[in-house]
């Protein structure tokens, strides 16, 4: 640890940084206690136990409606008011503390991170792991995003989950998730980070399978956890290799000891590739992205928090944290960028043909995560974090908006007794009249995600693609060879793929807006009368996120746009953390493209974004849509897209089924039953029985046997003497 003496932050409010995860943990415990208590009183014939058993193909979204006319038990769950205050309250407290710490950091020299060690966790031989938090600029950014967006989503959940019988349980799980996420971003060593990593996996399982009484939801939760687990093997292997070769797992110690590693050598590349494999699981890249679309079976606030803003970004955070490693392994970095680019395009093509609102947003998340990995892959680490932040804003907004839409649709369906799919866009249409605020906010988010200036997404996406283009010429990557192709060509290809994905992003987002909010309404009259804007607890956070999507881009303005405000804010802020890695990536020269190139690139990006929107507006005719039940099936390539390239089916037949068969026949029947049960357990019993049989021969009473015994005994005794 490079702290000499006492860090200047220790005298400020940052000394209380341990409270950051403790607040949500307390929330988890108290809300969990409420949840257990409230469930302990349910009697044998409680009609409330039957909720959540819908048979939507997209996975049972609960009613979450405020007006029941049927005979369900009505009313808020027990302790609802306390949980309503406590659940979001603890997160808000953490957020306030984080803001205080941010201002403290601004007034202090932060060239070294502020590390607080709480206890010595695993002193084993050479391994000395501590439970310690590290506060530097990067973790500050992440903490602010996590606590800030979490607060908004908690407030949203008050309205959304208001009538669910698992209200307290939901908030306890959400709080637990925030706790683990804060552990992840505040950890000062890989092991503690891994604790947080696994913890958010666990919470993802709990939350995605929240309405577990439906098998689809429970399976989705399992899938999320298991696929993440597969990636975690890679992460663990990377951590093991790090420890085996560098002898430590602290970030600061490792960053200082990278001199012993050979740049571009096999070891660094291997470590980085293994770490990245873990990221493909957590951040839903190829090949382990398959859990994210299924995870839409969970409640929408879960999708907004976990699968848009926080958990899936943990992979990006890990890469940036390990930037001192990735900047030494050009092949690994190029791999990261390539995987990100391919994933971005791949997911975008699937999103064009999805009909479920949440599925579109899920694939959009996968695609945008691909962008973040392009950014950190080419070495633009602060650009990647920038896109992470803006993505949290607009994707969170999109999910919350979709949640409002679904809430309203459910309310309408309850009013009319319709049992159609409330999430399918073919059943919606013309909703802007009923939900104007949501409509406008979602358009802001759509423009942001498409990359239209001056919204947030434009700046972040632009900085990533520009970095990809520029680094193709002037970085250690451009000189490297990746699978036989020169790095320069690969990065150019990454840039082109990124542009294509941007085009498709604009297309499918506009498509979503068109089908949902514009055009003729495909709902009935009775339903339209019951539709209205969602309660303020739900639209409030949406508005806040809308504002952030509008101005969030100004965090890191490029130099050209300096007329708006101070430029490069985020870059300068993160420089102490990733600066050396960025410099290493660009061969020691700060990449400063010419004004002309920059303007050209920006222009291309804007043109693509607007072109995408225009194409969608012209080509798609919402008037020709019919409701889902009446819609014809898909054909040809559209069917392939709608069926998501049959990836799940391929995995099922190619990997899951053989693994299951192997486990069942070889491991279970062969090893477990055959060898362990039959050979060892039954076998030892048989051996004992055999010995008993031998012993029983002494008691037969048959003189002949006794005579034999005497003769044998004599022979044995004689043999002892004869062989002496």
């Amino acid at each position: 640890m490079a702290v000499s003496g006492v860090h200047p932050l220790a005298a400020t409010i940052a000394a209380w940084m341990w409270l950051l995860p403790v607040f949500p943990l307390l929330g988890f415990i108290i809300n969990g206690a409420f949840s257990i208590i409230s469930h302990a009183h349910i009697g044998p014939a409680d009609p409330d136990m039957g909720h959540g058993s819908h048979d939507d193909s997209s996975g049972g979204e609960s009613h979450a409606a405020g007006d029941h006319e049927d005979s369900h038990v009505v009313g808020k769950p027990r302790f609802a008011s306390i949980v309503t205050v406590l659940g979001p309250g603890v997160i808000f407290l953490s957020f306030l503390l984080a803001v205080g710490m941010f201002f403290a950091m601004r007034g202090v020299d932060m060239s070294t991170p502020f590390v607080q060690q709480y206890w010595s966790w695993m002193p084993v031989g050479d391994l000395k792991l501590d439970f310690a938090f590290q506060l530097d600029q990067l973790s500050m950014v992440m903490v602010l995003i996590v606590t800030g967006v979490s607060t908004l989503i908690h407030i949203f959940s008050i309205g959304y989950m208001g009538d669910d019988e698992g209200y307290a349980r939901f908030f306890s799980y959400l709080n637990l998730f925030v706790f683990f996420m804060l552990l992840l971003v505040l950890a000062n060593n890989y092991a503690l980070l891994y604790v947080g990593w696994e913890g958010v996996s666990l919470c993802s399982y709990l939350l995605v399978g929240f309405w577990f009484k439906d098998k689809i939801n429970a399976d989705a939760g399992k899938k999320a956890f298991l696929v993440n687990r597969i990636g975690d093997v890679g992460l663990l292997t990377g951590i093991f290799l790090l420890f085996a070769n560098l002898g430590s797992l602290d970030f600061t110690t490792l960053a200082a000891s990278t001199g012993s590693l050979q740049v571009g050598g096999a070891l660094v590349t291997t470590i980085c590739l293994f770490l990245f494999f873990g990221c493909t699981g957590k951040s839903a890249q190829l090949p382990l992205y398959v859990w994210l679309p299924d995870a839409m079976a969970g409640p929408t606030p879960v999708s907004a928090l976990i699968h848009a803003a926080t958990m899936v970004t943990a992979g990006v955070y890990l890469v940036v944290r390990s930037s001192f490693l990735f900047s030494m392994a050009p092949i690994a970095s190029i791999t990261v960028a390539v995987v990100g680019a391919i994933t971005a395009l791949f997911a975008a093509t699937i999103a064009i043909k999805q009909w479920d609102i949440k599925k579109v947003l899920a694939y959009s998340t996968v695609s945008q995560l691909g962008y973040m990995f392009i950014g950190v892959g080419v070495g633009a680490y602060s650009a990647g974090i920038f896109h992470l932040a803006t993505h949290a804003f607009f994707k969170g907004l999109l999910f919350l908006g979709a949640g409002s839409v679904i809430y309203t649709m459910h309310a309408a369906y309850h009013h009319s007794g319709n049992h159609a799919d409330a999430q399918d866009m073919r059943n919606m249409g013309g909703l802007r009249k009923a939900m104007p605020v949501t409509w406008i906010m979602m358009w802001i988010a759509t423009l942001a995600i498409s990359g239209v200036p001056p919204f947030a997404g434009f700046f972040s996406k632009d900085s990533i693609l520009n970095a990809a283009f520029e680094h193709s010429n002037d970085s250690i990557l451009s000189g490297a060879t990746w699978l036989g192709i020169s790095g320069h060509t690969v990065l150019l290809g990454v840039y082109v793929l990124g542009l294509a994905a941007a085009l498709l992003t604009a297309v499918y987002m506009t498509r979503l807006m068109l089908y949902t909010f514009h055009g003729p309404s495909r709902t009935t009259e009775t339903e339209q009368k019951a539709m209205s804007e969602a309660p303020w607890t739900m639209t409030g956070p949406i508005v806040v996120l809308g504002v952030l999507s509008l101005v969030g881009g100004w965090l890191n303005l490029p130099a050209i746009a300096a007329f708006i405000g101070p430029s490069g804010g985020l870059d300068k802020w993160l420089n102490p953390v990733v600066g050396s890695a960025t410099i290493a990536m660009t061969n020691g020269t700060a990449v400063e493209a010419s004004r002309g190139t920059e303007l050209g690139l920006i222009g291309i990006a804007v043109v693509i974004a607007i072109a995408g929107i225009v194409i969608a507006l012209l080509a798609l005719k919402p008037a020709t849509l019919v409701t889902k039940d009446q819609s014809p099936g898909e054909h040809g390539f559209e069917k392939v897209l709608a069926e998501k390239y049959y990836v799940d089916e391929i995995y099922e037949d190619g990997i899951v089924h053989p693994a299951f068969m192997t486990a069942k026949n070889v491991l279970w029947r062969g090893l477990d039953v055959g060898i362990i049960d039959n050979l060892f357990v039954n076998g030892s019993a048989a051996v004992a029985r055999g010995f008993a049989w031998v012993g029983a021969q002494i008691q037969t009473g048959s003189t002949g046997v006794y005579a034999w015994g005497i003769a044998l005994g004599a022979i044995v005794v004689l043999s002892v003497f004869s062989f002496r």
């Binding site: 008691q699 037969t700 009473g701 048959s702 003189t703 002949g704 005579a707 034999w708 003769a711």
Partner: protein, 97 residues
């Protein structure tokens, strides 16, 4: 003559052992035991040439004890026969268990 005597004695003894292990009639088993006694007597006599007259004296004792044992043993067989009407070894399993 010593080696041949000892060899003959061993063979006769082993024939007696085989007889004990193989036969099922109690009396015949007894007779096999007598054969084993005789074989041992031969050993004693053969070795008395080298080790002194004690060998032949011991033969006398062996014969005496063999006679006593035959008397008692046959009395036992008679009483068993009175109970079970058979001298088949398979049926003499009162000690079972």
């Amino acid at each position: 003559m010593l080696a041949e005597s000892l060899g003959l004695s061993a063979i006769l003894f082993v024939i007696g052992v085989i007889g004990v292990l193989t036969r099922r009639n109690a009396i015949i088993i007894f007779l096999c035991v007598e054969l084993m006694f005789n074989a041992v007597n031969l050993t004693f006599v053969a070795l008395s040439r080298y080790y002194g007259m004690g060998g032949q004296v011991f033969v006398l004792f062996v014969m005496t004890v063999a006679a006593a044992e035959a008397a008692v043993g046959l009395a036992i067989i008679i009483s068993i026969f009175r109970h079970k009407q058979t001298v088949d070894l398979r049926n003499i399993n009162v000690m079972k268990g």
